[in-house]
Every structure is written in C-alpha cells, then in structure tokens.
Symmetry: C2
Subunit: 212 residues, 2 copies
Amino acid sequence: MTVERAPVSGSGKRPGRRPGKTVSRQVILSVAMKRFAEVGYEGVSLRSIAREAQVDPALVRHFFASKEGLFEAVMRDAFHPEDFAVVVEGGEERMGERLVAGFLEMWETQPSRDKLLSVLRSAVTRDAAANMVRSFIVGEVLAPITRAIGRPHPQARAALVGTQLVGVALARYVVKTQPLPTMRLDAVVQVIAPSIQRFLTGDLPDVFDETA
Amino acid sequence: MTVERAPVSGSGKRPGRRPGKTVSRQVILSVAMKRFAEVGYEGVSLRSIAREAQVDPALVRHFFASKEGLFEAVMRDAFHPEDFAVVVEGGEERMGERLVAGFLEMWETQPSRDKLLSVLRSAVTRDAAANMVRSFIVGEVLAPITRAIGRPHPQARAALVGTQLVGVALARYVVKTQPLPTMRLDAVVQVIAPSIQRFLTGDLPDVFDETA
C-alpha cells in the first residue's frame, strides 16, 4: 500500500508562509494520531477526524485515500523509516549500537514520543491496527536492514530485533521499569546493543523454516 | 502489599464438591480478569465485579480488600511467581533457557494466555495498572531470580530480562510477528536464551548507578 503524499508547498518561503495544503495535511495527521491513541484504530472514522480537524472529509480522502492510508501515514510520521538507512551504511561492526540508538532517539523527545506511543497502543489493544503496525515496523523499518546485511533468515532477524526494541521502549518510556527510564541514553544503548547485534549479524541456531 | 488468601475448603473431596468460598473466589477472579481486560484498571469497580460475579460486594472485600488487592491477585493468578524458583535451582549454566522457556510456556495455553494478556493490556494503556504490573513482574517474578544469582545490579538485570521477555511475548502471542508465532516453542527458546543469559549472569557495561 502506498500513501498519497501531499504536494510540497513549493515556494518554501518562511516564516510567514500561509497555511496551505501541507499545513492541512499535518493538522489532519496530528488529529488522527491523537484520536487513534484515544479510542484505538477501530473507534476512528475519517469523518470524525475531518470534523475535528475542521476540514472537508473529501480533503482527508484526497491526502490519505482510506483509514488504512491515514494510519499508515501516522506510522510513517512516527517512525521515519528512511532515517534508518544509516544503520546499514556504517558497516557491520557497530550496527546493533546504531540501530538501538536511532530507535531510542526517536522516543527521547516528547512530540515524537506521543506519536510512537499512539501507534504502539493501537497495536497492543486488540484491533486491526496490530497487523498494520507489525508489517510496517518489521517490513518497512527492520527488514530492509536485515535484507541489506545479507545473512540467512532476514525476516526472522528483523522480527527478533523488533522484540528487543519494543521491549526496551516499553520499559523506558511506557511502563517505566527502573533503572531504564533514568539511565543515560548511551548507557541503555551499550547494554542493549549486543543483543541487537547478535540478532542482526550473529550465527543463530538453525531453527527457522522460512528461507526468504 | 499482601493479598488475603481465600481459606482452602478443607475436606478436599471431589468431584461433586459443593460450591464454597474457594469457588466464589475463583469466580470473582475470573470476572475481574475479564473486566480489567475489557475496560482497563480504572474502568473497573469492586461493586461492578460483585454484581457480575453474583456475589455480595462484602465478599469481594473479604477476599481481596481493595481494587489493588484484586488486581494483584489477578497478576498472581496469571504469573505464578512461585513457579520461577526452578530457574535458580538448576544452576547458572542454562538459566536463560529455563527462564524464557518457563515464561513462554505460561503463554502457550489459552486460559493462561488470556490472563496474561489481560494484565499486559492493562499495563500498556495509560492507567495506574502499569505501576502495579511493573513492580509485580520485576519485583516478584524477576528480581528474586537476579538477587539469588548474586551478580552486581540485580534490579537492572531483572528490568533488562523483562524487556526481552515482554517483547517476545508481544511478538509471538499479541502482534504476531512472523516467524515467531509459528516457530516451535523450543526454537524460540534457543534463539532468545543467549540474550536472557547475558542479562542474568553476563558482564554488563559499567553504566548503572544503583548498587542495590
């Protein structure tokens, strides 16, 4: 599934740029993010989001096509999968470190954390969002990395990396399991990185059926 | 916090044992488990649980004292912390394997999985349950293990173990990240155990402030 991108407002003049399509798209996105977090994926309708964003429902459809498209845009806005290219580019040796650092840095600032939390909560409560979050995080954030590394079982490696990253994010930012929330970010990275590195590039037991 | 235990109905004759206090306690517990999962910790009242369990509210107070006490009993019923003694008893070498196997085995059967999910969902949505779940899992399930091992930073080790265990449970049983849900249990254990073993007994970077 692809998401229709809003046309970039071309002139680029700022400050004082007048509200235009890009701004409407951002307003819709942040209303959607808030509503998904509050009532879950299933409780949200495009119509209710349009109402709260004070735009015409047709504009929501223009930008995002469907509720699925809107949720995908929220995930993309939260995770910025393109930022993870640096994990692969720096070579194998400290890949685990770069991946966990990049992932946790997204969580460190409040607006970004709210977006990630909104997506994560949608996935953990029992609704259709779980499928979309899973295939987005594994498929678009992690699998490109494990495929680029070129070791056997890239899909399984991506899934395993995901288990440790989500667990750390929950402990540090949501459930607040001490000492994780109060540790320095680089300390958390140091402790977690070897597990990620092993999932990314280590020899894993020969227990996977899939060959993809 | 301690939970008032229901008096064991002494005679032990079965089958055909008449419903008694033990049965009422179990009925209240399973109603509570279902309600916590449906509406979250804050949405539940002792009175509403009594109504649904068709018992007097005084009986709920007799068994569980408070809503906190009831939630703790639900957690205890889901996690059976006493079962984790075997992790320590078998010596250090394959501790990671025994811990992850014991933890995942709890999730493998449906009634038990529903209980664990109920607790986990209460913790991830934003309410007071998160604190209770965290201190229960880390304090009563994992910290006794890391303290018994006698390595530095038992609290941090327990928290780290928790991040990986919760992440795997989410991936295998909730968000269903392939190939984790379809792998044999012992294969998952083999892949995850080295991370758990490192958190339990390995040399960790010297990045923790706490000395407890």
